[in-house]
């Protein structure tokens, strides 16, 4: 019997928003993981932050914790510490985790908290109607930077892999099948898993054509050292690699804490 994963909530994303594709990929991944007996449905906790991405918790008929803006990550660690049988999945955005509360990502990576974080990265504040985020390109003309942003974006992969993340991957929202597969791999990882979902914002930063031409699934397995993984995550010329860049196993924060 297929799972009933939808709720009574009306979907309020812009028509055509890639968030809907991410939602489909998530539902399919949950169906697959629960269907094959890898996870019990009642043990999934889908956490979310605040931003367009965060609406996803209303649309998934699973346990959820919709946290404050930028404060999703510590809440996830709290859930996992309290009940290590739970699979703690977090949906966050580039504003929600890169602009506000970035320190929590770094520390969760450092302690290898057994949580699975997915950053819906559309390089813009969308729900607040189009301001530059910490990863908007320099020169980005948003509503708070009409003359173009004067700040450089930072590279989350360099930062989080240096901080100690034990899993790092990138996928593209437009590729539902690929995203579903990456979600399953990231969730299966034991320890802190970090996945960036590259996502155009069709209303405030329409990068559909830009990404469609540039993203590609890289061949080969993940690196086993962070420096190599950082290299794998970087653009190859104009091309943006998708796939798992890094996957190693280390003792998790929760298993050491509760030992």
């Amino acid at each position: 019997m297929p799972l009933n994963l939808s709720t009574t909530a009306k979907i309020t994303w812009c028509p055509g928003c890639p968030n809907s594709a991410i939602l489909v990929a998530f539902r399919q991944a949950i169906e697959e993981m629960v269907g094959t007996g890898k996870i019990k449905l009642e043990n999934i906790v889908a956490c979310a932050g605040i931003g367009c991405h965060g609406k996803i918790s209303d649309y998934l008929n699973v346990n959820s914790f919709t946290a404050l803006h930028g404060r999703l990550v510590p809440a996830m660690t709290g859930v996992k510490c309290a009940n290590p049988a739970l699979t703690v999945i977090g949906m966050s955005g580039d504003a929600d985790s890169y602009s506000e509360g970035l320190e929590h990502l770094i520390h969760a990576a450092r302690r290898n908290s057994d949580i699975k974080i997915f950053i819906h990265d559309n390089q813009v504040f969308a729900l607040t109607t189009g301001q530059a985020s910490a990863v908007s390109p320099k020169g980005f003309k948003g509503r708070s930077t009409p003359g173009g942003s004067i700040e450089e974006p930072f590279d989350p992969f360099s930062l989080l892999l240096s901080a100690g993340a034990t899993f790092a991957a990138r996928t593209y929202a437009g590729d539902i099948a690929g995203t579903k597969k990456i979600i399953e791999t990231a969730v299966a990882h034991k320890g802190f898993s970090f996945t960036e979902i590259v996502q155009p914002c069709i209303t405030f930063f329409d990068t559909r054509d830009y990404f469609k031409e540039r993203v590609f699934w890289r061949e080969g397995g993940p690196a086993t050292n962070p420096d190599e993984a950082i290299k794998l995550s970087r653009k190859e010329g104009e091309k943006i690699p998708l796939g798992v860049f890094y996957s190693v196993e280390k003792p998790t924060f929760e298993e050491q804490l509760l030992k």
């Binding site: 609406k55 914790f65 404050l68 809440a75 996830m76 709290g78 510490c81 309290a82």
Partner: protein, 568 residues
């Protein structure tokens, strides 16, 4: 110097930070408590690790000591600065021990200056400098006419992990040396037969939480709340509870909310400044109805303020903490015994009502010790209303008459548990229409009504002293100590009204106690008279006589008694 009552004896021990003054005070206090004395031990220190002036002050008596007295009967000076700083606290018959004295000190102290080559003796024995305290301790034992033989086993127990033979030997040297000077025994106070535990408020509060079944304590270090964190950290193996020190106060409280959502009993603790960082998530606990206990220990603010000194300036801050309107409880224990009970009650009430509960402490409650009765037996653990019919129709925020929705936790088969920082419907799905918004806000405040109906089951207000007196002194928190100590020195009978619950405020009870009074005097350690204003707001009673202290130090009981007497 204002004299304390004959039956009170006060010892001061002063030296540099790192001299072990705190330990020395604690050792002496423990020994006196073991002998059956009522003891109050304060510790005064600046925010630094080495150097600076540290001072432990012990007042003891056979009757309850509510706080320490300024007037010293004995001063143990491990450095010259101690004499300079505390000379004005000495009475004509006070005894001062020091390695050596400056001529001007001898002139003032005369025969009461007792030279004890403490540093030289310790050096001779190749003992660490910190053991100087043991020698002084022995000398004090002689002064108090405590037979050294009977002290020995006590010392052995107190020093059991700290080289007992060496410490006992040094104490004996101190005792014999004092005896050899032919110095008189000073006044003798017979202890009461009942023995109590010398305990500080942070430890008592932590024991209360533990007795009420705490699973996790999460905190970022900040004086004066830090010792709760270290107390639990040392007890993880024996208790099974776990301690986490995350990257910031913001992480602390959000992590705690995640734990609470998953069904674990969690408490967090910080000073007022740390709590300021937690405001948004504190509000989230209210919105998402996640049970949470927060210990807030006040220092002298604003901003970084005086990290190791005290105030009562954050009452207004915590009763209004967090944006938006939502029910919470704020209780302000006035001593270690009340701090223990607050730990128990806070955790149980947080889970009964699914609300955040603040226990408002301050440096004095947190770090000063008093002989107390702490009974850990027979504590009831209330886990709150757990859903019996969780299943496909389960809604975490089911609207009920008393506002309390049955709880289920993630991991329950066929049950979806959704919590959120957004306004939401019964299933935990975001809403933004006025009808459901009002319905859910009303549901949360229905819990307030339920709680308000049960206020008479709680010690929201305590009355001490002469219940029939028309003269009333009203106070809250750690001011209880100096107020009740001052009570012994008042010229007229007085009723003392202690407000323990600041939110919800038991207006009916407070009005009953204050209305009809001839005179009401408000005593607080803040500039604005926050309690007086709160009483007026909640009861309409204007309390215009105020004794306010806002220099970061607690009231001194004899000085406070004089101020109250002036107003009576």
């Amino acid at each position: 110097m204002r004299k304390s009552h004959e039956s009170v004896f006060t010892i001061g021990i002063g030296g540099a930070a790192g001299d072990g003054i705190r330990e020395s005070g604690a050792t002496m206090g423990t020994i006196l408590a073991d002998l059956g004395y009522e003891v109050f031990l304060s510790f005064d220190y600046p925010s630094l690790i080495r150097g600076g002036h540290n001072f432990a002050r012990l007042s003891f008596s056979k009757e309850k000591m509510w706080c320490d007295h300024e007037a010293l009967d004995v001063l143990i000076a491990l450095n010259e600065e101690t004499i300079t700083l505390h000379r004005h606290e000495l009475a004509h018959d006070s005894v001062v021990f020091a390695d050596s004295f400056e001529p001007q000190d001898i002139e003032v102290l005369k025969g009461n200056a007792v030279t004890m080559p403490i540093a030289a003796t310790v050096k001779e024995m190749n003992a660490p400098a910190i053991t100087r305290n043991s020698m002084a301790l022995g000398a004090v034992c002689y002064l108090l006419d405590l037979p050294f033989d009977s002290m020995q086993s006590l010392l052995g127990r107190v020093f059991k992990d700290k080289n007992p033979e060496l410490n006992i030997k040094l104490a004996d040297i101190g005792y014999q040396r004092m005896k050899g000077t032919g110095f008189r025994h000073t006044k003798k106070i017979h202890p009461a037969p009942e023995k109590k535990q010398l305990i500080d408020g942070n430890t008592a509060f932590a024991k209360g939480l533990m007795a009420a079944g705490l699973d996790f304590y999460v905190a970022y270090p900040m004086t004066p709340a830090t010792s709760i964190l270290t107390f639990f950290a040392d007890r993880q193996k024996e208790t099974g509870l776990r301690v986490i020190q995350p990257e910031s106060e913001l992480s602390v409280i959000n992590m705690a909310l995640g734990m609470s959502y998953a069904g674990k009993r969690v408490a967090i603790g910080t000073a007022s400044g740390g709590f300021a960082l937690m405001q948004e998530a504190f509000s989230c606990a209210g919105m998402a109805e996640l049970p949470l206990v927060v210990a807030v220990s006040q220092r002298q603010a604003p901003a970084t303020g005086l990290p190791t000194y005290s105030s009562q300036t954050d009452m207004r801050f915590v009763i209004h903490a967090g944006h938006g309107e939502f029910p919470r409880i704020v209780m302000a224990p006035g001593d270690s015994e009340e701090a223990f009970r607050a730990g128990v009650e806070a955790l149980n009430l947080a889970w009964r009502y699914q609300i955040p509960v603040i226990v408002l402490l301050d440096k004095v409650i947190s770090e000063h010790s008093a002989t107390s009765l702490i009974k850990t037996e027979g504590i009831k653990i209330e886990r709150g209303l757990i859903s019996a019919k969780a299943g496909e129709k389960y809604g975490r925020y089911e609207i009920t008459k008393d506002g309390i929705s049955p709880m289920a936790f993630p991991g329950t088969p066929n049950t979806v548990v959704k919590v959120t920082s957004y306004e939401h419907d019964e299933a935990g799905i975001t809403v933004d229409e006025p009808g459901p918004t009002k319905a859910m806000l009303s549901k949360r405040f229905a819990k307030s009504e339920t709680l308000n109906k049960s206020l008479n089951h709680h010690e929201t207000v305590k009355v001490h002293g002469d219940h029939s007196s028309g003269n009333v002194v009203v106070f809250w928190g750690s001011t209880k100590g100096p107020v009740l100590e001052a009570a012994r020195y008042l010229k007229k009978p007085v009723k003392f009204v202690q407000i323990v619950w600041l939110e919800p405020f038991d207006a009916k009870r407070v009005a009953e106690e204050l209305s009809g009074a001839k005179k009401v005097i408000d005593v607080e350690c803040n500039h604005n008279g926050q309690l007086a204003a709160l009483i007026r707001e909640k009861t309409g009673i204007a309390v215009t006589d105020k004794i306010l202290k806002y220099d970061s130090r607690p009231f001194e009981p004899i000085a406070l008694a004089e101020e109250i007497n002036d107003k009576l």
